[in-house]
Structure formats: structure tokens, C-alpha cells
Amino acid sequence: MKHTSVTGRIKGLLGTSLLAGALALAAGSAQAEDKLKIGFIYVSPIGDAGWTFQHDTGRKELEAAFGDKIEIKVLDTIPEGPEAERVTRELASSGHQIIFGTSFGYMNPMLKVAKTFPKVHFEHATGYKTAKNLGNYNARFYEGRYLAGIVAGAMTKSNKLGYVAAFPIPEVLQGINAYTRGAQSVNPDIEVNVVWVNSWFDPGREREAADTLLDQGADVVTHHTDSTAPVIAAEEKGKYAIAYHSDMSKYGAKAHLTSVTHHWGDYYKAIVQSALDGQWAAGSVWGGMKEGMVNIGAMNEAVPADVVAKVEAAKAAIIDGSLHPFAGPVVDQEGKEIVAAGANMSDADMSKMGFYVRGVNGKLPK
């Protein structure tokens, strides 16, 4: 792909005799010098809870911190693929200096646009590709999952836990395995059943998956999907649920034990500050509890104090580095040792995770 210079662009505009457009563009870039223009691209509507809601909460913190030094444009419900490329490009060409894209499927489109706008800073969440002006960022969700596992392991009576999962990718497997290990740390007899729904967001299927798990005898369900349906299903059946992304207690006050949450405000503030200082460089950030990017939410009062204390202790240990959710020995379903005792699983190995730990039932779909 060729780089297009600004003059080339203006020539093109004049070539099509759209002088007015060129003037508007010039006016637009003059204005951009006053404020740092920032764009956010979301894959779903913002709503009241969930993945996009958490990112938008971070966006609000950004506005609160920088006030009128910045100007933010939010575009939601942008489909992945070519539409995302056009929208990203539209933001870049209308003077936005930082563009945050918060869905995996924006990775390749953002990469393409980043090549044509070398001066614009692109930040992509949850992907794995970077470029000179495309950084990526993600959170160590598995750290929160481990803590949630402690709660689930302590609260279950049937010793069966249910997990509604989207796709068998490393990020989701990290969550399932960390959750299982967390539960095993307080209750070695635990079993975890997983149902794959093959969708990030489909309330009907998520509900049916949660129902299935509950009907199979699980009494605590959690989910790595985006809707509130699993919590609703647990509430209806008088069982427990652990929410993901946001606190979802308003969807099931009795069922909702706690939640694994992620927080992006600090990261967004750091990025914007570095851009304002002229120090921004594309990085690759994988932040956890220590960085405040992952947390465990408010506890239901049904959770006994000693369990809460165990969770707090484990959280402190994860933050100070003395506890790693994948500290050896890590053993897979067939009993094969993946990580030896005394060692921690490396980031590189975790990012390729493709197995279930012992304690998870069923076969991992390939």
C-alpha cells in the first residue's frame, strides 16, 4: 500500500474540483491544533454493562481528567472488517490523533489504515499485531478469574461449576483454566463443565448454555461472553452466577456472587498524557491487577467472611508477585505436566494456551 502525502491528497481533491471539501479539511486541521482529537471505535452499543460499557467508562475517566484539552468522538456498533477500515480511516483523516479500537476484528483494518497515516497513533485492544504507530493493549483477565474461582469453589455444594464460553482461543482458555485452579485451591474435588456457544454475544444461546450447565448439576455458572443472560438464568433457577466484564448484580441480586471486571481508564489516561507530551510510542501492554486493569467486583453478602479474606489474600499475593495463577505444577487433562513445580508459565506460553487443566470435563474442540 502506498503512502499518500497531504499534498497528494489535496491535489486529488482539487482534481475532482471539490474545492469546498479541501477548504473544510484545512479548516478542520487548523482546529485540531487546539485540542487533541481522540476517536473510540466500539463493536457493540455501549449499554449498561459489558465489554463496551467498561471501555466507555474508561473513556469517561479520560474526559474527566483532561477536560477541554481533548475532544473525543465515540462510534459504536461498528462491524468488524471493511466497515471498520473505513470508519478508522475517516477518524484519522478528520484530524483525530489517537484512535482506540476495542474489538479483535479491528486489528487488520487498523493495521492497514495505520500504514497510510504514519503520524496518527493507533491503539488496538486484544489483538497480537503491532506496527510503528499501532500499539496493542490487553488485560490479564485470568488473574481475576483465579479469584472468582476461589469464590465459586467455596460456594458450590454440588462441586460442579459451569462455564459459558465463546470461542476456544487462548484468552478464553486462560480464563477457564485459571478459574478451575482458583476453585481447586480451596476445593480439590471441583469439576468444571464448559459449553461453547460460538458467539461473543447472543443472549438466547447464552441463556440456553447456562440452563444446560445448571441442568447438568452445576450450581455456580460464569461466562466468557458479553450478555447478562447467564446471570439472569442462574437467578431464575435459584443458583449462583459470577459475572464478567461488569458488575451485573442488578440482573440477579441473589444469584450474583461477584464479578471479574476490567478497567481501562488509567491506561487511556497514560496514553493520552504521553501523546500530549509528544512521547507516545507504540507498545504492547498486558496489564493485570497490579496495573489496576483487572479486578474482582463487589461480593454478595452470601459469601462468608473467611472466603472474602481468602480472596483478598490471594489478590494481594498476585499483586506482589508471590502468587501466579499458572504456577507449576500445571497439569493438563491427561495428566501431562505442562509447567514444572517451582516455575511460572511464561507470557509467551500463556498466549498460545491450547489445553484444559485437570478438573475441566469434556474435550477441547479443535
Binding site: 491528497r9 486529488g12 471539490l18 487488520n108
Partner: protein, 365 residues
């Protein structure tokens, strides 16, 4: 008592054939005006954001072309069948199959930098689309099965086939398990034709289809026979024309066009296979385009540009007016409603008042 009556015209109105799409567009704009005013938007700003803003630079025009291209291509293919009363409404599925077939070629020849990869992708795409359209054609000619329902059902089957491929055998081996294929290598990507835009060479295929269908409709004996077969199968039979050909050609033309459009999407804006390729909606929207364009190549050309503008306008309305982009679907639906509603004027005329009824009574006495 004043009433409005529809009275059949002795001859279909020629002028209404051309006027009704314009009338429909006009009504849609008036309706849009009311909606914008209702939403508290300044109508001038809103219309500017919706219809001017997206195309006021070269890049925007390029986007208009790459959006309009698959719509026009598919609509042209569908028009061949629609003119003969063959209702292929499964172009969306045929497009997905075209994407899959072309993508399969691109992945198979992943290492190759041969110039033949692209042509092969388009051949595979066309064949894929035709294969998918051949199912309703075969079932219709062999078992008399309704092609509307079969082609529609196959849309969802096609989506699932794509989903299975990218979750399984065709998943990017270096993609950390994410459900999408590798990025195609450069030999499988369409060259761009205007610098600074995404307008790609796939547009030429649409232009070619435009010329071919124009000639076919204007001078082709086959097109005439198909039309007769569609309107009066018995008459066509007496004239020695096998109406089964009509079914096959009508469906395969749509399938080939949709398959080519799918190949063009894969080798153009997508450059890989992923689930987004199964929800482009071009196959369904092309049905609107075919109708708004009056099943005529030139009409389809203009209709596809209008539909593409509605898509871009929806995004622009979100960027500039903070309106949800879904507003473009509302406009698309309205446009087709108005068009279908005004179609009645071709075969009927409006009669006001009750004079006719009175006259008829008088005649009866």
C-alpha cells in the same frame, strides 16, 4: 363521498415505469425530512451529512464505488431471473459461497505469486455461487420445489459452512486460535485503481456485467424467450421453448454474479476470510437494488449508487450527527416500500370520487 379507487389501465403506463422510482426516492426524502425534524436535527445539516458528506472527497467516492459495485453486480444477475419470474432471493448465500471458493483458492496458493491466482479466484467464486444456485434450480426443475424458499434456506446454510471453515480447517495457524483465515498474499489481492482510495479492480467486472446484461436484455433472443416463459409458460411451450432453461439460466445468472461479487469482496476489501464476510447483507440489499432499478441495467446502476450512498450516509450520520447508523436500514426499507407502493401506478390509475360507480350503476339500469 370522496374516495380513491384503483382502476386498471388498459395498457401499462410507460411513463410510470420511469417515474415511479423517482417518486419513491422523492417520498423517501420527504419522509427522511420529517424524521430528521422529529429528531430535532436541522434538516439541511442532516441531509448534508447523510447525502453529501460521505462523498465530498475522492476517498469517499471510492468508497461509494466499492459499496455500489457488488450491489450492482448481484442485482444485474438477479434481474435476469426476476424478469422471467424466477425468484432467487438467496443471493446472500451464493455470495458467501463465492467468497469461500475464492478464499479457498487464495489459501491453497498461499505461497504462490503467480498472476493466475486472481483469475482463478474469480472463476472459483463464480462456480461457487453457481453451485449454490444450482441447488434450487435442480430442485425446481426436477421436483417442482419452490425456489424462493429453497434459495432463502440455503443462505443460512452457507453462513454456517463459512463459520465451520474459519473455526476449523481454514483457521490461521499463526492466529492464536482466533476464528479467521490467514491474510491473503499480495497475488490474491485485487489491485487498487485510484490512488488514495480503496477502489479496486473488481469494479471492472461490474462494468463488464453491465455491458453484457444490456446487450442480453436488448438484443438477446434468449432473454425474450425467458420473459415469455416467465409470463406465460404454456405459450412458451407451444413456441418450442423449454421453460426449464429459464429456471436454470435465471438462477445460475444470479448465482454467478453473486459468486463473483463474493470473490471480489474476498480479494478486495477483506483480504482474508472471517465471519464479517457472511453478514455483508449485499445479497439481500441487491434485491432492493434490482427492484428500484426496474430490472434494467442502467436503472440498476443508479439504484446501486443510491443504496451505497444510504450505507455511507448512515455511518456519516453517526459520525456527524450522533444518530445510530441503523438509520440507513430504515431508509433502505422505506425506499423499497415506497417503490413497491408506487409500482401500482404502472398498471392502475387513481380515480378520485365516486363518479365511476355512479356511471356503472346508470349503465346497468
Amino acid at each position: 363521498m370522496l374516495s380513491i379507487k384503483l382502476v386498471p389501465r388498459p395498457q401499462p403506463s410507460k411513463s410510470m415505469v420511469y417515474l415511479s422510482p423517482l417518486l419513491a426516492i422523492g417520498l423517501m426524502l420527504v419522509f427522511g425530512l420529517i424524521v430528521f425534524m422529529f429528531l430535532g436535527q436541522n434538516p439541511v445539516t442532516a441531509f448534508h451529512a447523510f447525502f453529501i458528506e460521505p462523498v465530498n472527497d475522492l476517498y469517499g467516492l471510492g468508497e461509494l464505488l466499492i459499496k455500489a459495485s457488488p450491489l450492482a453486480l448481484i442485482a444485474l444477475g438477479l434481474a435476469v431471473g426476476f424478469r422471467a419470474n424466477i425468484w432467487n432471493i438467496g443471493a446472500e448465500g451464493q455470495l458467501i459461497l463465492g467468497t469461500i471458493a475464492a478464499g479457498g483458492v487464495a489459501l491453497w496458493f498461499y505461497e504462490s505469486d503467480s498472476v493466475f491466482v486472481l483469475p482463478l479466484m474469480f472463476i472459483a467464486g463464480a462456480l461457487g455461487g453457481m453451485a449454490w444456485a444450482a441447488i434450487p434450480a435442480f430442485l425446481r426443475t426436477r421436483f417442482n420445489t419452490n425456489e424462493i424458499l429453497v434459495s432463502l434456506m440455503l443462505v443460512y446454510v452457507a453462513g454456517m459452512v463459512l463459520s465451520w471453515l474459519i473455526h476449523g480447517p481454514w483457521r490461521d495457524p499463526d492466529g492464536f486460535g482466533f476464528p479467521q483465515s490467514r491474510m491473503f498474499s499480495d497475488s490474491a489481492l485485487l489491485p487498487l485503481i485510484i490512488e488514495g482510495t480503496r477502489a479496486h479492480a473488481g469494479i471492472f467486472i461490474t462494468l463488464l456485467a453491465l455491458i453484457v446484461t444490456t446487450i442480453f436484455f436488448r438484443w438477446g433472443l434468449l432473454a425474450f424467450q425467458m420473459r415469455v416463459a416467465g409470463l406465460a409458460p404454456k405459450a412458451a411451450g407451444y413456441a418450442g421453448f423449454n421453460s426449464q432453461y429459464t429456471v436454470w439460466i435465471g438462477l445460475l445468472a444470479g448465482g454467478a454474479a453473486a459468486g463473483l461479487a463474493g470473490a471480489s469482496e474476498a480479494a478486495g476489501p477483506f483480504g482474508q476470510l472471517d465471519m464479517a464476510a457472511s453478514v455483508t447483507g449485499y445479497g439481500f440489499a441487491a434485491i432492493i437494488v434490482a427492484f428500484v432499478g426496474r430490472l434494467h441495467p442502467v436503472g440498476i446502476l443508479f439504484a446501486s449508487l443510491l443504496m451505497a450512498l444510504l450505507y455511507l450516509g448512515g455511518e456519516s450520520a453517526q459520525v456527524n450527527l450522533a444518530l445510530p447508523s441503523a438509520v440507513s436500514k430504515v431508509f433502505q426499507g422505506l425506499l423499497l416500500f415506497f417503490l413497491l407502493a408506487t409500482d401500482v401506478l404502472i398498471h392502475f390509475r387513481l380515480q378520485f370520487g365516486s363518479s365511476n360507480a355512479a356511471a356503472r350503476k346508470a349503465g346497468a339500469l
